[in-house]
Each structure stands twice: as C-alpha cells, then as structure tokens.
Symmetry: C3
Subunit: 397 residues, 3 copies
C-alpha cells in the first residue's frame, strides 16, 4: 500500500474542499487543485482496487443514467464507477428527440431521485441545450433537497454536453500525466488538437472544446488545427486563452494539420462538426424542419469531403517530436481501410498505438468514480485509510 | 433512534401476521391493522435510512419488474425499494399488447423466479385483465414453490392494475397521516376525489377507485365527484360504502366539483376515463378492432372536452376548509398553461403545493419496501432492532 | 451442512485445475473431471443458498450480457447467477443484425470490460458465426489483460451458440443425474434426442448438438432421431461417436421417432432446423438477400409440415422403458392444442412432466454460477469452507 500512501500525500497538499457536495459540469469551473484532486482520487481508487480492497462507500443507493444518445463506452464507464462505489444503475429513458423543460424537468428530476446518490447525463446533440439542461436538473435537485423532499442530493456528473466532455478529457489528461511521468513534466509540451476527416457527419464539439479548455492549464503549448469553417465555440476559446496565460503555456490556432504536428509531443486528430452548423441544426430541430436538416446534412458531408487530406498518416507522425508523439483518440476512431475507406487515421498508426489508446480509455471509470467520491466524502484521505483498514476485498477470490 | 423506538411501539400494538408470506393486490383485502403496519414499517425504513442505517435484508436476490405501460415514477420507486432491501432489479419485458395466458404465464413466472424475492407488476390498461393476470402469476409462483421448483416464493406487489393502485394510494394516505399529524386526527375530515378535465384520453381508473377504497377506512367523509358518464367500477363503490359504514365515516357522490370542494380538507382532482368506455376498449382490443378503437378515442376526447370547467382553480380552492385544503395528485398533472393549454389544475394552485406534492410522492419507495419487508420478515420489530444493532451504514460517508 | 461436506468430498477427487482462469465454450473441450466439477460446484452453490449462506464472492464487479436474440429464460439465468456471486448485470446491446468483426470486436470487448468479471454471450443465429464471435471476444480480452489494460480477465460463458448450448445441456445433464440418483446409475441408459414437429421455423441446432456432444460421455446409449433432411453438424456427430467409444456407451441414428422411443429411459423431443438450411440462411443474410430468406422460410415451413406425425404422444411414451421415460425439454415447448394447434408434444404428456421440467430449468442459474466460480476461484473446496465460516446470510430474514 506504499503507492496509496504516496497518493494520499499528494492529496493532502491540495485544497479541494469546494468539491464536497458539488456537481461536475465543466473543467474550467474547477480550480487547479480540484482538477488535480480528481486525478489523485481516481488513482487512489484504482490502486485500492488493484490491491484487492473494495472502495465501496454505498451499501445501497441508485446511480441514474440519462443518455440522450446511444453510448456504449460512457455508459459502461458510468456503470462501472457506480458499481465500484456500491450504487445500482437505473436508466432514465426520456427519449432522444424530446428535450424536456421547466416543470417537467424539475418534477422528473425529483421523482426519480428519492434514493439516488448520483446522476450522470449525456446530452450533446444540440448547441445551447445540453449543459443548460444539466443545470436545470441540478437546480431542481438542490431545491428538492433544500425542501426536504430528497434525503440526499444526487451528485450530477456531466457525461458529455454541447460544451465540454469532462469525464473523457479528464481521463485523457490523466493518461498524459501517466505517460509523461507526472504533471511536472508537461511544461512546454506541445499538444496538437486537430480536426480530421470522417465520412460521418455531426460529431460533437465537446472533445476539441474540452481539450483546449483543460490542457491549457498545465503550461503546455496547445494548438487547435482545423480547416476554415470548423470553428469551435468562441467562449471556449476565450477560456483556453485565459488558461494558457495563467499557466505559462500557450494557445494558438492553425489551418494546417502539418504545422500542428510539427514537433508535437501529443496529437489528438479527430473529426467534429462546425459550431455554426450545429447551431443551425439546433434551430432546424427546434422548428421541426426535417427537410432543412436533410439539406444541412448533405452540405456538411460535402464540406467534410473537401478535407480528406486531414488524415493522421505515418508521414505526419514523423513530423512530431522524435517521430514519437503520443497519439490519442476518444474512440471509436474512423480508421482508413478498416472502419471506413478514408478516415481520421491510417491503420498502421492506429495499430501501433492500440495499447496506449485502451489505457487512455481505462481511466474514465475511475475519473467518474473520483468525481462522485469527492462530492460525497468530506475527508477523502481519512476515508481511504478507513477503506483499507476495514479490509473488505473487492473480490473474495 | 428515539423516533424508531416510537415506531416500534406502534407496530407492536398491531396484528399483521397475515402479511408474512403474502402478496399485496388490493388494499381492501388487508385488515386495518395490516394497512397501519405497512405505514408504520414504511416510516421505520425511512427513519432507519435517515439515521444512516442500512435496512438491507438481502445479500443477493432479484426484484423482477414487469411494466406493460411506460412508467418512470413507479419504475424508480420499485427500483429504489428493491435496492434499499438489497435486491437487484431485472426487467421482464413481455411487450405491451400481448396478454399472456395459462401455460405461458405459469411457465414464465417460474422460469424467471428461481432467485427472485419480489415481483412488481403494473398492468392497468384493460378492465378485467390486470388484476386477474397478477393473481395468475401469484398462483403459478405459489405452485412452483409448493412443488419445490422455487427455493423461495417471490412476493407479488401490485404496482397498478385495472382496479386499484395500492402503492400510490398507500403513499397518498401516509402523506395525509403525516400532514394531519396522525391517523387519530382524520375523523370526519372531508376528502374530495374529483374528476378533472384533461386533453388526453384513457387515463386509468385505479387512482379514484383506490382512493375511495382506502380513504373510507379512516372515518373520513369521502366524496366522489365526476360528470355524468365517468362512473367508476360499481364493485369498488360497494367496497367504499361498506368501509365507510364500518369506520364511522361516509361515502357520497356528486356531479358538482364545487359541491365536492365545499369545506373539503383534502382535494384530489384528477382525470380518468369512464369505466364503461374502458370496458368497451378492452373488448375492441380483444377483437383487434383498430378502427373501433380510433373511433372510441375520438368520442372520448369529445366527451372530455364538454367538461373543461372541471378544473381545480384558485376560486374552487377558496371554497375548501379555510381555503387551505391539502391539494393532492399522483403526478404528472395536466397543469393549465404549463403542460397543456387547459388542464386539471391552475398553475398557481399547483405551484403553491409543489413541495407537499413531491413529499407525497416520496412515500412510495418506502411503501413498496414495507410491503416486501412485511412479507419477508416474520418479526419486523425484532428485525429493526437487529438492523440497528448490526451497525451497517447505508452510506459509508 | 452434511450435504455440503459430501459435495466437497466429491470435488476433492476431481482434477479441474484447467478451469481456473478459463472460459466455457463447448462441453467437449472440457475433461470429464471438469464437467463433473461443474455439476458438483453447481450443487454446492445451491446447497449453500438453500442452507441460507450467501455464496457471494464479489463485492463489486460487472457481469456483461450480450444477447443477439430475444431471451427471457437464459437472460434471467445469467442475471441470477451474476447476482448470486455479487456481480451487477450490464446489458451490451449491439443490435441483432449487425455482426461486428475484427477491430470493432476487439475494441468494444475491451472498452466495456474495465471492471467486468464475466461476460455471457448468446449468438446462435448464424452457422459458423456465433462460436467464432465468442472466441474473438475472448481473445481480445486475453490480449487486453496481457497488455495491462484490463485489471482482470472476464470469464466468457457461452450462453448458446451455433454449435453448442452448454449452460442448457449441463443443466439438463445435472437434472438427469439428480433424477437417476447419481452419475453411476446412467450406464447403458437409453437417451432419445429426437426431432419433433413445430409450426415455427429456424429453431437453433445447439440443443440436439449439445445433447449428443455431452450425453455420450456417460456410458449411455444416445440415439439421435430425425426425418431425412434434418441433419445436424457432421463435426458434432464425430464428437458424439468418439465420446461414446471412450465412455463405453453408444451413439446411433434413426429416422423413426418410434424406434428412438422404444425402451428409452430419457426422451428429448424438440424441433430444430436442418443444418444445411441454416448454412444457406447464413449465406443469404451475408448477401442481404431478403427475398431469398423469405423463400427459404416458406420452404422450411412446408418441409416441417410434412412431418407433423413427429409428436411426443402418450402412445409413444408407452413404448419407453416401463412407459415412464423422463421427458425433457429446454422450454418453451410447442404443446399441441395449448401453444399451437399441432406441435412437439401432446398436452397430457407435457402436463404430467411439468414439475420435473421446471426442476430441469432450475439448474441453469447454478450451472452458470459454477462456470464463473470455477474460473475465478483457485481452491473451490477451501473457498466453500470460507463461505460457510464467514457466516453471511443470503437473506437476513
């Protein structure tokens, strides 16, 4: 348990008191210490599990999942996190198309939460809607708790919205910290978050936005690269600039994938839809204009097809620092010749990075569990001691 | 734990031995003591949870849910109750339209129940079918247990049928007891169960029927109000009359919402479909006559629309006792100007009662848990002592 | 606990070391001792549960279920087994028609398994595909574990494939052992696995194949009976012949249901589709030839209809040993005059055997639990002692 002692020492040096009883919406709403505490608790929970100790803190309780979109990876990550802590997952299926408002949101949020300790929401389809919906749910739960209708306030975890994808990006970041041997080694490392071609349409902006919103906080040189017309939300770019200034790093933009890869230590080539097109789509959906949506889809696919050269090739990888940049992706990737004829990444590049890619993904259940743990446990260091001391094995094998 | 001691004292005075090993179909099949024991155990389970003690009595076991209709509230209540007691919920999806019979019911009931401790069924769509189906399942399980094929007999909980909605109505009643400071204060209180206009069609009769079937047992003056043509099942009215006679209360009917509200202590304005129309619909479904169903739907909506004045307004609320009757609803309500243009209740009335409405709903998970607990535990008073003594926290926080 | 001591003695005499850390694909890949160990551990888990002791070995962990086909019985058996051992079930819904390959299978298998201890797959629709898919998943998980991406390797349990249905057949076999008072009494018993008429089409071959592949290992006389054209996979017949030669039993074929029933101790009359037709269907699906599939279906129904006399009647039952053969079925059966007009079995025969049929089915959850237990627990005998000694009740009643 030496590794856990070391993690506890790290945790003791941080001020994360603000996370107790709080939700997790956007990484840039959390202090640097709170972000670091999340990584540290995630590591502690993993170390506990690997050492055979159960980090279960709930004897009963529900973890509610609400996915407006199909999801396998995030769904299983949330289910794993809940299960590890002792919560039973109960899916709330409100349907995909219908976005509830006002009274309905308030009422449903309370009605399902009488015994809920956590609620994870994925709502990334419509610009201006997903994050707002989550806050509406959170406010309803706060009110329900204040009114005495709920015995406990469920912790809300943003499992992807229109603005950020904090559980993904925090997992990505913890993978980077692991790979580079500590956050202290990240100063001036170059991160290339670049658009890449995909034959599909309308991928959410939450990953590139989340990356520039978080990675700029560690003194790294963050470059966002995309063809003209694939801009992300301007307010997130403002966050990235502010972060970079504060952390002593930089945030810059380019329209050249090659420039972005030049000397990069980390590359994250991934398709996304233009922000303005997503705004337009949101409006079309609001108006129920299905013909307009079909036309927009055709336009966007045609626009994508003009940028097929935005592919993460072996040649591009050679341009990175020592030709050995860390290749990252949130998965699934569009692999040329494998999952599509032309896509985001050359098959040989993807193949070479499969093990680290899976490792990257393995952080997500622990990040989610850490978010819930920090919201529920006032003294995480002491609780970790207790979890070790009580001696309940995760697996009585 | 003084509050729990008091609850145990109450429980000790009651004879509820008949609930051990039994199912819960209709409130009027239970003795007064059994009804009171259910409220009391529900309060005890809540008090235990609020005091931080886990009332989990199962280390493993399944709680099977079978919903023939979409349901969020009841589904989560059942899931919460099962989870609190230690059962994992497993959904049995038999499809909505197909009503299984005979061999199929017997076989399926046994096949899914080898490790099931509880089964909750909601089947409220067809008059004459839902409750009968539940009894068929229950009989199959009794037989399977007697034959030695099942190691334990799952407790069947009626989560809403064509006749009664006992988990809802018991939650409603416990809310009334709480609100009025004890069952001893209910004598001669006036309850107005009244029809209200809704732009939707075919709402089940189980709530008004359940209300007149249960609330007449406490010496209250129960009034059922509805427009001509919205009669409920005559056999349930007979139950209400008998109950009222025995409890020293009264059961009466009126066709005036205003008369019902006059001096009322409790009002429950809610839409439902006419019993005879539901009988007709059941027959049309049985014959597969979809045109007939469409025609019936149109007729019913037109019939509803003649009674838009049946709305719970501020003006009507003023007529109640001190203008301060307890407004109740099983939720979701059709709120005028909020969830529909014209509906069951004025927005300002609903708003004013939101907190008590949510409180009302919060009883349901505990009522369901109490029904299962009383069926599984021979000595609930002693078991509550044990649950406190073993000192397992619900949440190791 | 004398019964458990006896079971442990049996277990101690067997060599089942190969099951630790291994999957369960086909019964004939397991040694005789491994098969017997599975029955023995299943009996031990049942005895523990019946004695009130919880055999839960996981404090947390997921059991993933992947069903490409609708399933109620096997789904609940898997859920029961997982729950008994302490795993939460999480369904992976990949859709029915789409058979994933290569990269997608490898990636998905890893992405869902970060905290998974078991994965149960049912994939029986296409000849040559189901078992192959399971092995692909298993290999991906082995690789993910070797690479350090998975902290534990999930045990794969074949919940029915195109070749075998080991959880069903092992449950069937354990029922036979129980019924005949021990495996030592099975020598020279005659088992008739016979085709029977059903008005439905395309039932999987995994049951008859599984039966001849397993039952030939116990010195029994196994007869496979079917009309011309309903052949099973030749490679499984080879397995049956080899098994029979080794066990001192026999494997033979006949085209007469009556011959098969003559003097039989056990009869298993059940419909299945011709192997060659299933191969053709697999090809048609691969080509997306829906017209071809419709035509094939019509042909197969017509072919079935020529063999309506293949029904398990009272007259046929009289031909069995003492007229009292054990009638078996994996359920649901097509019962003449009950679930269809003409089917696999006469209603009076089915009725007479209902209790043993349900008993037969009751073995499945324990067989699945035993498969997982033996893969996870190095010293099952010692662990059973520990499970008794720790004194955690399954139900704190």
């Amino acid at each position: 348990m030496a590794v856990i002692k070391k993690i506890q020492d790290k945790l003791s040096a941080l001020d994360y008191s603000g996370m107790y009883g709080d939700d997790f919406f956007l990484t840039w709403e959390k202090t640097y210490d709170e972000i670091m505490a999340t990584f540290t608790v995630a590591d502690a929970l993993r170390a506990l599990r690997e050492a055979g100790a159960s980090p279960r803190i709930f004897d009963s309780g529900l973890g509610i999942s609400l996915f407006r979109d199909n999801s396998t990876r995030t769904r299983f990550s949330f289910a794993s996190a809940c299960n590890l802590l002792g919560l039973a997952v109960q899916d709330l299926d409100e349907g995909k198309s219908q976005i509830a408002h006002g009274e309905t949101v308030r009422e449903t949020a309370n009605m399902v939460s009488f015994m809920a300790d956590a609620i994870g929401i994925r709502d990334d389809m419509y610009i201006g809607k997903g994050n707002a919906y989550m806050r509406e749910v959170s406010n309803a739960l706060k009110e329900g708790y204040a009114d005495g209708n709920l015995e406990q306030r469920p912790t809300l975890v943003n499992l992807q919205c229109d603005i950020d994808h904090p559980t993904q990006i925090m997992a990505d970041m913890n993978h980077i910290i692991d790979t580079f041997g500590g956050v202290e080694n990240l100063k001036n490392k170059k991160v290339a978050m670049t658009w890449a071609y995909s034959p599909s349409y309308g991928k959410p902006l939450s990953v590139p936005q989340g990356i520039i919103g978080l990675m700029t906080r560690f003194g790294m040189e963050v470059v966002l690269a995309h063809p003209d017309g694939y801009e992300v939300m301007p307010e997130v770019e403002e966050v990235a600039k502010k972060n970079a200034a504060e952390s002593g790093g930089s945030y810059s933009k380019t329209n050249s994938m090659s420039d972005a890869f030049e000397g990069a230590d980390i590359v994250y080539p991934k398709s996304w839809a233009p922000f303005k097109a997503m705004e337009k789509r949101t409006k079309l959906y609001g108006d129920g204009d299905m013909d307009g949506i079909d036309a927009l889809e055709k336009d966007l696919l045609a626009q994508n097809a003009e940028h097929k050269q935005w592919e993460c090739t072996e040649a591009l990888m050679k341009k990175t620092n020592g030709g050995e940049a860390l290749y990252m992706h949130c998965l699934p990737a569009d692999i040329s010749g494998v999952s599509c004829s032309e896509g985001e990444v050359e098959a040989s590049v993807f193949d070479r990075y499969r093990v680290p890619l899976y490792k990257q993904a393995s952080h997500k259940p622990y990040i989610i569990a850490a978010m819930i743990f920090l919201s529920k446990i006032k003294d995480p260091c002491g609780k970790i001691d207790e979890l070790i001391a009580r001696g309940i094995p995760r697996y009585f094998g």
